[in-house]
């Protein structure tokens, strides 16, 4: 007997996600068992098994640590947009370009 890891996809656009493990004689038997143990209640649209020995895990978790502040890679690195937009609007007004925004847009259409 070998150990197999079971992966399933709930909807067609989901990634394969680990749902459990089981013992089976071979891959074919593992697929049958996975169907019975994990997917007998419409839990997904697709599943797969892989021999646990063939699954290689990250050996060094420090690889996931952040060495420096890399907020610029994430949404939180960009903030204060309300103030920045207001500053740009004020600048446009100061340049005498405030009239440019006085044109119909889908938003003004919805408001009327």
């Amino acid at each position: 007997m070998a150990t197999f890891e079971v992966f399933g996809r709930r909807k067609f656009d989901d990634p394969l996600t680990h749902v459990g493990a089981l013992h089976a004689a071979d891959a074919e038997a593992a697929l049958l068992l996975a169907r019975e143990t994990h997917f007998r209640h419409d839990e997904g649209v697709d599943f797969a098994v892989v021999a646990s020995d063939d699954l290689h895990r990250l050996a060094d978790p420090t690889l996931l640590e952040r060495r420096v502040d890399d907020g610029y890679r994430q949404q939180r690195g960009y903030s204060g947009f309300r103030d920045k937009r207001q500053a740009a609007r004020d600048a446009a007004d100061a340049r005498g370009l405030g009239h440019v925004r006085e044109q119909p847009t889908p938003r003004s259409g919805a408001a009327s």
């Binding site: 067609f12 656009d13 989901d14 990634p15 697709d46 890399d70 610029y72 890679r73 994430q74 949404q75 690195g77 960009y78 947009f81 920045k84 937009r85 500053a87 740009a88 609007r89 004020d90 600048a91 446009a92 007004d93 340049r95 370009l97 405030g98 440019v100 925004r101 044109q103 119909p104 847009t105 889908p106 938003r107 003004s108 259409g109 009327s112």
Partner: protein, 311 residues
């Protein structure tokens, strides 16, 4: 080997499956036309991610601050990452990745019109980051409804990363818009340069029933629907900060709930993507070829293969 024979009965069943909103997995039977059109579309998308990283890469060394330099470098890395994810999807349809790379560097591979243009100032970086990327986000969001399931799964991840790029672009644009008169002018001039390429980006207004990409479940939305969506999202943001657009006919028709604009010169687009490549296309492809040659040793070490370097 998959059965790709053209079988009119199976093809009719396949189209009915698509019409009912059905999805297609890589191992499923599919008509040749569907496979061919998807490869062409997805390969062009992947090529565009690679070629789109190049104009921004040109500005990493010239970015105005360390913060901008790092965010631009991170964004270029994201775009190249998208290219790899998307090339992988095209591979599941049967075209080897090496063949796609070779076609691209030899100038046979197609990529989006917007990456054929030069960049002159930091204002161009703002336009690429906000307006061009914005156009890409509009079309990529529509692709979440495409019929080829492996493509949908990859696009979910790509679209999530694009929302960061949107912030990055808006941040640069707002900094220029609220800066000195010189910075504002720099932005206005760049917007003038990018207007036509962006109008071209969405393609001609092909009616839904005449667009083969829609018939075959590749594009869920028409070109004009995507263009209107972009105009609705981005034009008001530009007007809001005093940026004007270089089309005097541009206006939102409230009655018809439609943007009116001057039809761009479509011959110019045809010339750009099909005719003689312009100087920027040539220099960008040369940059791509150079990188390919310079990095060949890395490929060799990692894969143990010889990398064909002849362009």
């Amino acid at each position: 080997m998959q059965d790709t024979a053209t079988d009119p009965v199976r093809e009719a069943e396949f189209l009915a499956h698509l019409d009912a909103g059905g999805k297609v997995e890589s191992g499923d039977w599919m008509p040749d036309t569907y496979r061919r059109m998807n490869i062409r579309f997805i390969e062009m998308h992947a090529n565009s991610e690679i070629m789109g990283a190049l104009p921004e890469r040109e500005w990493i060394a010239r970015a105005p601050s360390l913060r901008r330099k790092r965010s631009l470098a991170a964004k270029v890395q994201d775009e190249v990452g998208h290219a790899h994810l998307i090339y992988r999807v095209a591979e599941t349809l049967g075209k080897p990745r090496t063949e796609m790379y070779e076609d691209l560097i030899a100038g046979r591979g197609k990529f989006h019109n917007v990456f054929h243009y030069p960049t002159y100032t930091w204002g161009d970086v703002a336009c690429i980051g906000f307006l061009v990327d914005g156009a890409a986000i509009v079309t990529q969001q529509a692709l979440l409804g495409t019929s080829y399931a492996p493509y949908v799964r990859v696009m979910k991840r790509v679209v999530a990363e694009e929302s960061l790029h949107y912030r990055h672009g808006e941040d640069i644009l707002l900094a220029l818009a609220s800066g000195t008169d010189e910075q504002f002018e720099m932005l206005q001039e760049a917007v003038n340069r990018w207007w036509t390429p962006i109008m071209h980006f969405f393609g001609t207004d092909v009616p839904r029933e005449e667009d083969p990409s829609i018939r075959w479940g590749i594009k869920p939305r028409t070109n004009e629907e995507s263009r209107q969506e972009w105009l609705s999202q981005y034009v008001p943001k530009l007007w809001d900060v005093g940026i004007e657009l270089p089309d005097p006919a541009l206006r939102y028709d409230v009655e018809a709930a439609t943007w009116r604009y001057t039809e761009p010169d479509w011959d110019e687009l045809a010339e750009l993507v099909k005719g003689d490549p312009g100087p920027t296309t040539v220099s960008r492809l040369e940059a791509r070829q150079l990188l390919h040659r310079h990095h060949a040793w890395v490929h060799e070490i990692i894969t143990g293969d010889r990398v064909p370097t002849a362009a």
